[in-house]
């Protein structure tokens, strides 16, 4: 029973964070047909940004907001630095954008390491300071307001982004750019701005995942790779380009890894193996994901 509740709590919270990061992958993929390999590192930027600000004495709520905004800027910067030059020149063996977005991520993480430090940090819970430090015990498992806030905030964000994509001018512009960039430009869409905005939004989502999850999971440099890859698996599983798919994929990956952690005798070592296996199976069986429909991939 304890195990089961533990798995559920972990799935709900970690899954929410993964869903947010996955949504970032999806947004960028929708707009450009590429995958932003700097998405994981942006999570690191957001987490360490909030930590550095709060260490400098900024109130935690303000620090988190600033970190999210700052990471949005960093996301936009990734697009400007990594992607824009590619439009002018022949890509490197057709995968130049993988190289450059990944390189931008490396640079971001190294800047964080040099600018802040490389040790793991915890952030005080966002809501703990506002709602008080309640802890409920469910079958012996501690559930905090933070856990609930993560889930609620994630659901709200995903629904909000989904609605934005479906109903607003920005959403229409994004879908138009995704469909045919040149045609979108012809009918007056500022394609450059739409794409940059998608990258910025993806960065903001990654930072939100980082600050929401930080009270539960340490902010670490490795998270860029660890959570970044898991979120990528979630995005692919759910279907790149689908907001609801990102949500479903996030929870599925988190559930699998929570179960793997629980059943493996030696602690958390099999977690990643399970996720990796899921990834390979997804790619082999249904590369477009559960809810994805876009078959074409840029290559």
């Amino acid at each position: 029973m304890t195990d089961l509740v533990q798995i559920l709590v972990s799935t709900a919270t970690v899954g929410s964070a993964l869903a947010l990061v996955a949504l970032g992958y999806s947004l960028v993929f929708s707009a450009t047909g590429i995958v932003n390999f700097a998405q994981g590192p942006l999570l690191v930027v957001g987490g360490y940004g909030a930590y550095a600000l709060s260490r400098a004495g900024v109130p935690i709520v303000v620090a988190m907001v600033l970190a999210v905004l700052g990471t949005a800027l960093a996301g936009a910067a990734v697009e400007v630095i990594a992607l824009r030059p590619l439009r002018r020149v022949d890509a490197v063996a057709d995968v130049g954008w993988v190289l450059t977005t990944f390189a931008a991520g490396l640079v971001a993480v190294d800047l964080v390491r040099i600018g802040v430090d490389s040790s793991p940090h915890s952030l005080p819970p966002l809501v703990g300071s506002v709602l008080g430090r309640h802890v409920w015990r469910v079958a012996g498992v501690a559930v905090t307001p933070t856990d609930i806030v993560i889930v609620v905030a994630t659901l709200a964000l995903v629904v909000g982004v989904d609605a934005t994509l479906r109903a607003t001018g920005f959403g229409r512009a994004l879908r138009a750019v995704a469909d045919d960039r040149e045609a979108a430009a012809l009918v007056g869409v500022d394609t450059g701005r739409v794409v940059t905005a998608a990258f910025a939004l993806a960065g903001a989502l990654a930072a939100m995942a980082a600050v929401l999850l930080a009270p539960k999971v340490f902010v670490r440099l490795e998270n860029g790779l660890l959570l970044g890859l898991q979120a990528f698996v979630a995005a692919v599983l759910g279907g790149l380009g689908s907001a609801r798919g990102a949500l479903a994929g996030g929870y599925a990956v988190a559930a699998l890894s929570a179960v793997a952690r629980t059943v493996s005798p030696s602690g958390s070592r099999y977690e990643f193996v399970a996720v990796f296996a899921l990834f390979l199976v997804t790619l082999a069986v249904r590369p477009t994901g559960l809810l994805g429909c876009r078959v074409a991939e840029k290559h």
Partner: protein, 654 residues
């Protein structure tokens, strides 16, 4: 003679410079551990980068997990090998005595094995999916090191035994830094030699063709999946050997953290990118620059611990400023004698182009093709015999070569082919005409295996090939050109034709790597030059295919298709974009091919040409056959006129 000497100098000076540098650095810095060690590091990195380049440059697979193979190679060569060959081993005495020197064998086996396993799982993918899988693989390597901490030593790794200096006077030198230096140099040269052989061979061309255009590769008889897996495995094996060398150098093996593996993997990628993706010299140039550059005192002080920043920044800068790398940029300098070469593929100088040679070549030609079509086509019947089309007998004119029965195929509810029946007679030119969207291109795709029909059968010389993969159909004698031209842009013109003749060569990967394919290669080259002459592109043999005009690219596609010596050639709108002179030229060519016994399916809009050229015309409309018969009859058909001109104007307003 002077020209020849100069050509040799142009071709070999980079290698001469490398060997010269290595021979200078070794003795001159014998007492300076730092520079000698940097030399070793540079050569190890160059070896790894050369390995990576096989995947990245030749095949377009971007791996960010190759450091995993490096670590695995280190463990296999320096830990597993000595363990298995240690005391009590059943291996022959000679092997046991020199056990450490069999390290590279273990590294190659483990590296290739792991690479194959990973490739089998992900080489059906392209682009970012594959990269993500390799990232995940790199991530898993430290996890394995922790899981098997007793044997592998966890993240910190373990020390390995030096190569003992007592057992063999010569090999014993290996335990010194100088010994490691020269060992690394030898392995780097071997890696370069293999890469060079590969780039000039049938297998290497197939890899590049897969990278530059998978559909055209498949219809030329190249299996993309198999070639990707092979490239990935080779690449992993070479990187694994570099890992073994590194174990010799540091006397330790460790994976480091997941971030370390990632950074190290990226180091190989950036090394190749800085030097020049897909070039032979690129990885070496990149490795020496990066290693010696970072080895300078000023960098040692400030940048040694900022590798992410350095490598990431370099990658961004190179892609933005010189995406073809330093070697690529150098080739574009004004005044260079050699035109730019975008791929590994060597400059195409036909080695033996004099006709006397070719006439004597028939005995060297592969024995009767083991194909379905081979039975109905006499030995030697191939478009190569254009010099004397008259003496080539038509085979059983009247036999049906291609039979398409009730084929259906639809796209999103719209039927492109709706139960189409077509029989193409051996040795005829069979034209398929119809309005846009009538399903003609889908027909070609279904016959060549590019698309699978939803229903119906495709028979070639009576055998059902409906379920045969596109690349196998090419081997059975089916070749095609494309409506939207699909030459391999970054390969040379001659290389395009050579790769088109893939199914006519037999050199396997091993022979290609060891350079044992030269006889076959010169035969293929002679034939390819002949085909280029046939389509009038002989003067462009050394150019990049992407630099040709559209009309020239169409001719190149034709030569490429003929290189496969097909029995059935499908031309998908070959006249689009050609002017009148070029049209006439093509018509003459198709006629001469037919008189040589080739069966041609011609999909075309240009009615005049069709009427002039075709023996039989099938009119397709909305996926069904509207009319069929000799051109003159079909042209007068009211239904046909209606389909083309609309009901109101057809047949005088009926």
């Amino acid at each position: 003679m002077a020209d020849r000497a100069q050509a040799l100098a142009v071709r070999w000076w980079p290698l001469a410079a490398l060997v010269g540098f290595m021979l200078w650095l070794g003795p001159s810095q014998a007492g300076n551990r730092k520079w000698l060690d940097l030399g070793v590091e540079a050569m190890i990195l160059a070896t790894a980068a050369t390995g990576l380049n096989v995947a990245l440059g030749s095949t377009g697979l971007l791996s960010l997990g190759h450091a995993g193979f490096f670590v695995a190679g280190g463990y296999a060569g320096a830990v597993l090998g000595p363990y298995l060959l240690g005391d009590g081993s059943i291996a022959p005495d000679f092997v046991v005595r020199n056990a450490p020197w069999f390290g590279p064998v273990f590294a190659v086996v483990v590296g290739a094995g792991l690479g194959t396993a990973l490739a089998l799982a992900c080489c059906h993918l392209r682009g970012f999916h594959l990269t993500a899988v390799t990232l995940a693989f790199g991530f898993g390597v430290p996890a394995v090191a922790v899981l098997a901490a007793d044997q592998l030593g966890g993240l910190a790794g373990r020390t390995v035994e030096r190569i003992p200096d007592t057992r063999n006077a010569f090999l014993a030198r290996g335990h010194t830094l100088a010994g490691v230096y020269y060992t690394s140099a030898v392995f780097l040269l071997v890696a370069l030699w293999l890469a060079r052989n590969l780039s000039r061979s049938r297998s290497g061309r197939a890899l590049t063709a897969v990278r530059d255009g998978e559909v055209a590769a498949r219809t030329s008889g190249i299996d993309p999946y198999r070639h990707r897996v092979a490239a990935f495995a080779m690449s992993a094996a070479v990187v694994a050997v570099a890992g073994w060398l590194s174990a010799l150098r540091t006397l330790s093996v460790s994976s480091g953290s997941a971030l370390d593996v990632q950074t190290e993997s990226f180091r190989y990628v950036i090394t190749v990118t800085v030097g020049g993706v897909g070039t032979l010299a690129g990885p070496v140039v990149g490795a020496f620059l990066l290693t010696f550059g970072l080895g300078l005192d000023v960098f040692q002080q400030h940048l040694r611990d900022k590798l992410g920043l350095v490598f990431g920044g370099l990658a961004l800068a190179v892609v933005a400023l010189a995406p073809s790398g330093l070697v690529g940029a150098a080739r574009r300098l004004p005044g260079r004698r050699c035109p730019a070469r975008a791929t590994l593929v060597s400059r195409s100088v036909p080695e033996r182009a004099d006709p006397a040679d070719q006439s004597g070549e028939t005995p060297g030609r592969p024995p009767a093709r083991p194909t379905l079509v081979g039975r109905s086509v006499p030995e030697g019947a191939g478009p190569t015999d254009q010099r004397g089309p008259a003496d080539r007998p038509r085979t059983d004119p009247g036999t049906v070569l291609l039979s398409v029965r009730g084929v259906t195929r639809s796209f999103g509810g719209v039927a492109a082919l709706d139960g189409l029946d077509v029989d193409v007679v051996q040795g005829s030119v069979h034209a398929l005409i119809g309005p846009n969207g009538s399903g003609k291109s889908t027909f070609v795709n279904v016959v060549t295996g590019v698309e699978r029909p939803a229903g119906g059968r495709v028979l070639l010389a009576g055998a059902d090939i409906t379920d045969v993969a596109a690349h196998r159909r090419a081997a059975l004698g089916v070749a095609r050109t494309f409506q939207g031209v699909r030459v391999w842009h970054r390969m040379g013109v001659l290389e395009n034709v050579l790769a088109g003749g893939h199914v006519r060569g037999r050199a396997g990967l091993g022979r290609c790597l060891l350079g044992l394919d030269r006889a076959e290669e010169s035969r293929l080259r002679a034939r390819a030059s002949e085909l280029l002459a046939l389509v009038g592109l002989e003067t462009r043999a050394g150019d990049r295919a992407g630099d040709l005009t559209l009309a020239e690219q169409r001719r190149l596609e034709l030569a490429r298709a003929l290189a496969a010596e097909p029995a059935l050639l499908l031309l998908d709108e070959p006249l689009a974009g050609l002017d009148e002179a070029e049209r006439d030229r093509l018509v003459r060519l198709v006629r001469s091919l037919r008189s040589g016994g080739l069966t041609v399916v011609l999909v075309e809009h240009h009615v005049e040409t069709v009427l002039a050229l075709a023996d039989t015309v099938t009119v397709v409309h909305q996926g069904v056959k509207l009319a069929e018969g000799p051109p003159a009859l079909v042209a007068g058909d009211a239904l046909v006129q209606e389909a083309y001109l609309g009901p109101a104007s057809g047949g005088g307003g009926a």
